[in-house]
Structure formats: structure tokens, C-alpha cells
Homo-oligomer: 348 residues x 2
DNA sequence: GTTAGCAGTCGGAGCGATTGAGTGCTAGCA
DNA sequence: TGCTAGCACTCAATCGCTCCGACTGCTAAC
């Protein structure tokens, strides 16, 4: 792979991957000649293929079979696509996408879910969407709301909305002044900080004689934030997990099970996406041997609002997947999502 | 099936199901004789089997094969088990269950999830757990909490906790008196009612000239409740969905896919469980032809706190599943869950 | 460097023989 | 009348075999 391939070799390789993606069958020299290179004979193509095999780009399942692309071939192919521009979507497809985004979705989670659905439906592959709000949520304000029976509802208001599902019981009863000073204390400590910051901090040091009397409330608030962190670290949505089973690559139960196990575990999905490098917009990885999703390719794209990456979408499919289409869809989603998110911003 | 089977036929049938559950292979007359009826010859058993086949209890995949139980056979078998008492769990199993319930779980959802996990892990089948809090949640109180910038947080306090994920914007600003009268109005209408009641009611009739000025707040509250209904109607947890793929019955991708599609759709799971009759404690259904989960048996159990059914657990597995064990586990869970829930009640 | 032509390879489909598990039947026995 | 021993029969599954055809690799000629 040190040397550049000749133009003809590249052309043959591209044709081979194209055909293999379309049919899933080993590609013969005659196939390539018929569809792509009627100017030379199949024998010539055979000779080239033989060379490509030696270079590790293609493989032969057995002596009398056609050639099958290997990882380097896919990589070259994907590179070509990114150069040449992605495949355009059909009108029906763009219409479909727009219609699915037509209803107003307010929750971030709903948008992620819808986006993942759309991607999966249009591409017919398994898709996932991760909203990266992790540590960057800013705590605006903490409110304590007295309820009946010595209970206090803790409200944590952030720029992303409210984290408020915890009632705590206070020993002191619900004296008004007590609640007020507790609220002051909590806001001193927490307000204006991001959740990410809190994680690394030594919070005990912030406590002093005065605040120490609110110790239990303080601990409760901290617990809520930590729970929130754990649950919402990265919000992962997976759609169309079962679609993978339609492809012959996963037509045996063992592999299918493996795949589903990985894909249903949100942590591993998050990890898969995290490996995408930040610097590039599209990242295609093919055949991760470890991690149970070998025989797969993963294409990811990052979505930004302003300068900040707010989400990352991905498609996972068989190595021989329709890269053009998938990249096209992810590309188009960038526009569509941008519109939805901006809309959402305006509403606030 | 009109006539009672002879004791010997029953015994043979029971043996046959036992063996079939253990091996998954068609059972021969010799097998039955060896393990269960050394007092008569295989020829006699063959004659009985032949009769049972005519009665529709068993089937022969082909002329020279053993017999396989049909639905009626399973039903008889399950009836026997329920009579005779379920299989006792091993010490290791009960210890495992207790240890998994050892950590304090406060959220209803966490408990459901844990329970489903335990059931699935001990039985090695797919399990689900539905918390039926649906319409019976009582609204205790509605609170409006003013936030910065003309926004108001709506809090709906119920006996099950708080539904509070909605901020609304009020045109009037956040004048204290306005908020107070709105709160009064809302509590007049909603407090003390269950969510289920609200659904059937003509709420507009409750509005009068006075309340009409709070129309937007009123509508917002209603919307929140309706959203809650839709999302929390029945809280369904499914665990170990992939375990089904270990059983040869689902060793082909087509069936596996079908099964997973049903099981991942919480609505259909909810439906499956809803079909369990309320009157009986254990409900076993075998081979629902429609609904994609044919070739399956479903065992459900209801769990009560006091007199109220709070949840329903189920196990779904191949028809030839280890009924004794599953029923034993569900039975034991009744005790274990009872303890956890009571504990939880005490804490409140 | 390219091509036509041909021999060689190998997977897969199709076919028949063989095996063996398990039955149904029948004649004889208690 | 009910049970059993024994035997003939059936049929899925397995194996081995051949045949077919889709490809390739090679070689000799252009």
C-alpha cells in the first residue's frame, strides 16, 4: 500500500466494490468488464485483479470464485465518495425527511429519536443518535419548594430545562426561613456551574460552619445531580436494530445475537461513537474486529449548533453497505436538523 | 377432550412433556418406559400414545419419529404443576434473589427493572414487568413555581411522586397574586382526582367566567397530564430479550426477528400481559398463533400491595420451557417483592 | 501490453444407497 | 381382556458420488 495504485487499478477496485455492494456476491472479471470497462478484455482485468489480490485489496473465497473486497478496498472506495460528493437523495426521500420533521418537537430527546428513526428508515440500516449534553449543562438556579408533610421538592433549573424528580424530607419541618437560607446556600455553591465542573470538584471544601447545618439538603442535591449525570451522561437512541438481521451477513443467530447485544447496550454504543474523531466531519470505520461488531461498517457524522457539537449520528451496517446513500442522508440531515434546532431556539 | 383421561394416560403424558422439556427431541415410547414406567413395556406405551395422538394431545413429526406434545398436553402439564405446587428453588437461587434486592431501590421503575432482571437471570428466559399505575394515580396538589423571565414551572404532585417537567410562559408576567389565584383554581379542578377520572370527564364544563382567565395555564396543565398518561400508561420493562435466541425454537433469523419485534414494542407487551385474566394468580398461555409470538408460552403473575394489583410480571419462553422453575421463581418473587415494597412504604 | 482460448479448480446441486431410530401390527401368553 | 415380544415397515438424516458451471490462471499469438 506504500505505492499509489494505477488509475486502472483504482477504477477496477471501485467497480468491484460497487458491484459487490449491489449483489453481495463475489465479483468476476467478466462482471466488471460488462458494466464498467468494455474497452479491455476480462483477461486483462483478471491480471489486474490478481495484482490487487497480492496487494491485499481483494480476496478470493476459493480458487474458482470471483473476488471480494477487503477493508483497504472499502476505505479507498469511501475516500472516493467523499471526494466526489455524496449521492444525492431522491425527491421522495427528501420529502419524506421533511415531513417527518414537520411536527414540532420540543424535547431534545424527541428530536434525537425522530432523527434516528428517519435515518434508519431512509437508509434501511441500524442507526443511532447521541446527544452530547453531558457535562455542559449549566445550573441556573436551585429552588426548594415546600410540600405538605415536612417534605421539600428540590428543583434544579438548568439551561436545558429542569431536573426535578426528587422529594426529600427535612427534619426541621418546613419553616419558611429555614428553606430560604438553605436555598441561598445551595445557589452560592451550585449556581452558574456546569455539571461537568462539579464532578471534578472537592465540594466538601465549600462547606463551612454555616452551611454545615444544611448538610442533608446539600447531600440530597448532590445526589440528584449525580443521578442525573449517570442517567443522562450521553443520551443514546438506537433505531432499527432489527434491520441488520435482514442482511445475509447477519443471517446466523450467533452473530445476530452478538450484534444485538452490543447495540442494545447504550454504553457500548456511546463508546463506538466516541471513537469517531472530532476533527473530521464524516468518519467511516470498517470492520472493528473486537467489540462484537466486526463485519460492520460504522459511519458517523457530527451535528453542530453554532460551534458546538450537540449530537452525533451514526449508521451501522454490513461492510458492503450503500455508502453513497448513507453519507448522502447524513449530509442532508445536517440541514434538516439544523432547521429544526434553530426553530427550537427561536421558540424559547 | 370431553372425557377424563385414564390415570395411566395422564402419567404418560406428564412423562412425555417432562422429557420433551428436558431434551427438546421427540420422545419415544422407550424413553418414557426407561425413565418413568418400568412396570409396563414400551409396546403398551406405544398403544397409549397412539390413543393420545388420536385425542389430539401429541403429534408425530413423521412416521418413524417419537411423539411431541401439543398445546393440550402442555396445559394439562401446567395444571398438574399448579396443583402439586411449584418447584422449590435451590438455596443458591433464593440467595441470589435476596442479594439482588439488597440495595435499596426507591424509584418504582428501578424496582420493576430489577425484578425483571432477576426473573430473567434465574430462569434464563425473557422476562417482563409491568407496573400498572395507569389511571389510579391521585393528584394531590398542583403547584406553580415562578422562575425567572416570566416562566412558571408547573408541578403536579401525586401520591406516586411528582410529574414536573414542564415550564410554561405566562403572558401576565409572574405577579404573585395572579399565580396564587391560578393555583387555587387549578386545585379546585384537579386536586383529589385520579388521572383515570380526568380522562373520561368533560373538563370544559368546569370552567366558568372566573377560571376562564387562566385558560392557557389550565390547558397547559391538562396537556402535561395527558402527556404523562401517554408515556406512563403502563410502565413496561423487558429483560433478557436476547436469551430467547439461545433456544433452538428460535434458531432461525426470521422467527427471531419476529419475536424481537414484538418484544421490543412495549405496547404489544402491555397487551400480552393485559390478556392475563385478573381472577387467576398464575396465567399460562401457550402458543398464541397471532401476534408473532406463536411457539411461545407466557406465564404471568400478579403482584399486590394490600389489595391492589401493582404490577404484573411475566416470563416468555419456548413452549417447552421449564414451567416448574418459572412458576417457582415467580412465586418466590412474590415474597421478595412484597418485602421490598413494604420496606419502601415504611420509608415514606 | 493485450487478448483469445483452453485446461484446471472447486463449490454446490442432485441423486441414490445406507443407516438407524422408532413405530404399528400381530400372534401368543397370563 | 390386557399385556408383551418380535418383526416388518417407514422415513429423516447422512454420506458419498457424480455432474455442472462459474471462474480463474496460463500460454501462445497478435
Amino acid at each position: 500500500m506504500s505505492k499509489e495504485l494505477s488509475e486502472r487499478k483504482k477504477k477496477i477496485l471501485h467497480a468491484l466494490v460497487d458491484l459487490y455492494i449491489a449483489t453481495g456476491q463475489p465479483v468476476s472479471s467478466a462482471d466488471i468488464q460488462k458494466g464498467y470497462m468494455s474497452d479491455v478484455s476480462s483477461a486483462t482485468i483478471r491480471a489486474e485483479l490478481s495484482a490487487l489480490e497480492a496487494l491485499g485489496y481483494v480476496d478470493q473465497p476459493h480458487t474458482s470464485a470471483g473476488r471480494v473486497p477487503l477493508k483497504p478496498a472499502y476505505q479507498l472506495y469511501v475516500g472516493d465518495i467523499e471526494h466526489m460528493g455524496a449521492g444525492a437523495l431522491t425527491d421522495a426521500e427528501t420529502a419524506f425527511i421533511r415531513s417527518r420533521f414537520a411536527d414540532k418537537l420540543s424535547e431534545v430527546r424527541d428530536i434525537s429519536k425522530r432523527a434516528a428513526e428517519i435515518i434508519s428508515d431512509v437508509t434501511n440500516y441500524t442507526s443511532f443518535f447521541v446527544s452530547l449534553r453531558g457535562g455542559s449543562v449549566v445550573i441556573d438556579e436551585i429552588k426548594l419548594v415546600p410540600l405538605k408533610a415536612g417534605k421539600v421538592l428540590v428543583l434544579i433549573v438548568t439551561d436545558e430545562g429542569i431536573i426535578a424528580d426528587k422529594t426529600i424530607t427535612v427534619s426541621e419541618g418546613v419553616r419558611h426561613e429555614y428553606i430560604e437560607s438553605a436555598t441561598r446556600m445551595l445557589n452560592n455553591v451550585f449556581a452558574g456551574r456546569t455539571i461537568g465542573e462539579l464532578e471534578g470538584m472537592d465540594l466538601d471544601s465549600e462547606l463551612n460552619a454555616e452551611t454545615d447545618s444544611f448538610r442533608d439538603i446539600f447531600d440530597a442535591v448532590l445526589a440528584i445531580i449525580q443521578t442525573y449525570m449517570a442517567e443522562h451522561g450521553d443520551d443514546v437512541v438506537v433505531e432499527g436494530a432489527l434491520k441488520m438481521l435482514d442482511y445475509p451477513e447477519y443471517n446466523n443467530v450467533e452473530d445476530a445475537k452478538n450484534f444485538l447485544a452490543v447495540i442494545s447496550d447504550h454504553d457500548s454504543v456511546s463508546e463506538l461513537l466516541a471513537e469517531a474523531e472530532d476533527s473530521i466531519e464524516f468518519s467511516v470505520r470498517i470492520g472493528k474486529e473486537d467489540s462484537g461488531v466486526d463485519k460492520c461498517a460504522i459511519i458517523t457524522a457530527s451535528y453542530k449548533v453554532g460551534d458546538e457539537v450537540v449530537g452525533r449520528a451514526g449508521v451501522i451496517g454490513p461492510e458492503r453497505m450503500d455508502y453513497k446513500k448513507v453519507i448522502g442522508v447524513l449530509e442532508y440531515m445536517k440541514k434538516a436538523l439544523g432547521a429544526v434546532l434553530d426553530d427550537d431556539k427561536d421558540k424559547d
